[in-house]
Symmetry: C2
């Protein structure tokens, strides 16, 4: 059933068809408890991609796969040289994550474009633009770092060869993983005229406010360090405490400092260590190496820079206290910024036409549209997440809310098809 308030849709979507697609996609890596394990370029991801490719073929979309494995499905409605509006997200998931993060954005893109095609056909109307579904490689950054890998290569922000050389925890590189599932593509796909991404909010603002729909208008910046403390392997029994060089202890000192640091910045700084690799990780060996995956996030470039300065001091202090060395293995920086005003206005106008508010939100997590926003007008639309949960098996966006978000996308696309992109994108 469509969202109750939507009785005046211009290009009505088919909510049952949308749900069927969501359920089919969820079968690749999903379990009955709601958990999703479809990390990028795994066999499960390959099966999900294969399904999407079959869907493209069955619905007249032309598939392209580029060298970093981004998967596209183009529907030509306006001929070869018309502008392309790209719509999509990613089907990769976190380990033990949820079903909606990313997947909804891909499935809703398919459904919205179908709805627009059907409506244009029924009206015998020509389109001003073509459409293209996107499924970006490794948005999550769980198996390979950094996140947004596929979209960053697509925009040129990341080098292809460098990206292909990224390795996972087992030493498998992206290049090998792409080949293993048959998605080391050779197609070249152009930067689109605009990009629209529908995503679950992944926070509780809409849910707590009792609202269905929001628009991410700003994105936070992030500074990500991969930092190794380097100690010396020794027996936890006889080795005198004063002689130990415990890399994990230095990590502990730093993690406590990183958490304390947020107190100085109200709600405007997030810090985390989500992944920690310990070597050799044996109960009776003093750890020789501890690798921390650190994230600093803020909407303010000044706060982000200040946090990084403080962190550097903390790193040195932690190393000194534990008697170990350290080594920065990598640094990734993503700038804070804003999405395209024309697309924001179009989304707002469309949602309000359905009687819905369209609250402006910050996105703190990365999205592929953040990467794309450096090369084309882009926006991320949000539908509410129950209790704000994301990256967890209980992640939930109801079928009604999925349908509402998809309907907003469909009507945005319909308006772009009818009115053209001028002033919007």
């Amino acid at each position: 059933m469509p969202h109750p308030t939507v009785t005046n849709a211009k290009a009505p979507i088919n909510p049952e068809r949308l749900q069927t697609m969501m359920e089919t996609l969820s079968s690749y890596g999903g379990k009955p408890d709601g958990s999703m394990n479809r990390q990028t370029l795994t066999a499960e991801d390959g099966r999900a991609r294969d399904w999407l490719g079959r869907w493209f073929a069955e619905h007249g979309f032309e598939q392209s796969v580029d060298a970093i494995g981004n998967q596209f499905g183009a529907l030509s409605l306006a001929g070869p040289n018309a502008p392309v509006v790209m719509v999509g997200s990613h089907v990769d998931s976190q380990p033990n994550g949820g079903r909606f993060d990313g997947a909804l954005g891909v499935v809703s893109a398919c459904e919205a474009i179908l709805a627009v095609r059907e409506k244009l056909a029924a009206e015998n109307r020509l389109s001003a633009c073509n459409f293209q579904v996107a499924n970006w490689t490794n948005e999550e950054g769980a198996r390979f770092q950094p996140s947004l890998l596929g979209s960053s290569v697509f925009t040129g922000a990341a080098e292809l060869e460098w990206a292909l050389d990224r390795i996972d925890g087992d030493g498998v590189c992206v290049r090998t993983a792409l080949q293993a599932i048959g998605y080391a593509g050779t197609d070249t796909v152009d930067i689109p005229a605009a990009l629209i991404e529908l995503h679950i909010e992944g926070a509780a603002t809409l849910f707590n406010a009792g609202e269905t729909f929001g628009i991410f208008t700003r994105f936070w910046g992030a500074t990500k360090y991969r930092l190794a403390f380097l100690g010396r392997q020794a027996h936890t029994g006889p080795t005198p405490m004063a002689e130990r060089k415990d890399a994990l202890l230095a990590a502990a000192y730093l993690m406590a400092d990183l958490r304390a640091m947020v107190a100085d910045h109200g709600l405007d700084l997030h810090t985390s260590v989500g992944r920690l690799e310990v070597y050799p990780n044996s109960p009776n060996i003093v750890p020789a190496e501890a690798v921390l995956f650190i994230e600093l996030r803020s909407g303010s470039p000044d706060i982000l820079a200040e946090a990084e300065r403080k962190m550097k001091i903390s790193i040195e202090q932690a190393a000194t206290r534990a008697g170990v060395g350290f080594e920065v293995r990598s640094i990734d920086r993503r700038k804070a910024g804003s999405f395209a005003p024309g697309l924001i206005a179009l989304a707002e106008n469309t949602a309000q036409g359905f009687g819905e508010t369209a609250r402006h939100l910050d996105t703190i997590g990365g999205h592929d549209a953040v990467a794309l926003s450096s090369v084309c007008p882009a926006v991320v639309l949000a539908v509410r997440s129950q209790d704000g949960v994301i990256h967890h098996p209980t992640e939930l966006t109801t079928p009604q809310d999925q349908a509402f978000g998809t309907q907003v996308v469909a009507d945005m696309l319909y308006r772009l098809a009818c009115e053209g992109l001028e002033g919007v994108a």
Copy 2:
């Protein structure tokens, strides 16, 4: 070449034969950089055991393997009902460990018993006792916890079925691992009349004092916790800091507290977290679970109990600060104690007969002889470790020092063979 001071050995060992055995054994899991990877019940451990079994067969030792995979080689010199003196250690290693820890104790047992047999044969002398080499399963506790698993089952301190159910980090249980390498034995081996273990010191006391040989007379106790902090998985981006339940952060607080705790106890308390398992361990997920492998060690039962009391308070505080729960998954306790005075005196007298001191040492790490000491007279003899290094590829005990320790063992065995065990064991 034998140790320079040994010209009056009663049962002279063959140092070249000893070195050949050490080199052969080192070929199973050893690399040119000195590193040893022969974790218990792996294919490498299986090959090392097979080699030892062939050595037993070639030298007239009768092999037995018990249900926990302990491997024995019995040499009967005194007939069926004579007391048995057991000699040995373990061939399993730490990951990326050294070649001498454990291996020397097994190889020196073989060589010492051979030397005694040869001398008794040359003298046409009867023995008062039989000898048996022991290679204990999973001394290290690296792959399966707890350590001293084989010797603890042998003494009855650990239940066989419980021990067989222990699982490694990949979910493989001891039972399956034993079957995989063909060491799920069915033999029953009796508690010996005495147990002698030669081991590298694994600390720098002898090395710094310029001494070759020492005797462990006391063993430290250890209290080992496997503790899980239980948080809630969430996105490291949007999730507000105040709402996070970060299990790894709680682990960080506790690790810092455990290190601070030793300041109250001079040199008499060692604390460590050598292994930390983080789940799901993804860079942009707030960790839901962090499992710490904690060790508290002391020669004083009072200090050990006091440290455990303090740790419990720290666990609660760390959980509260990070907003997470916790769960004690297992507790292992090993009491502090002393080795057999008769065997200590025999070792001391033997070493001094070679003009060597026989410094009394505490052993802080566990040894199989510690497990055995609850059921029979037992002792651990120590040869110096260069720079005190253990559990590291640079672990080194020179061939001369290996030979000296082996010679002390051989002469101890010779005296037991000639004089009987009365008053000694």
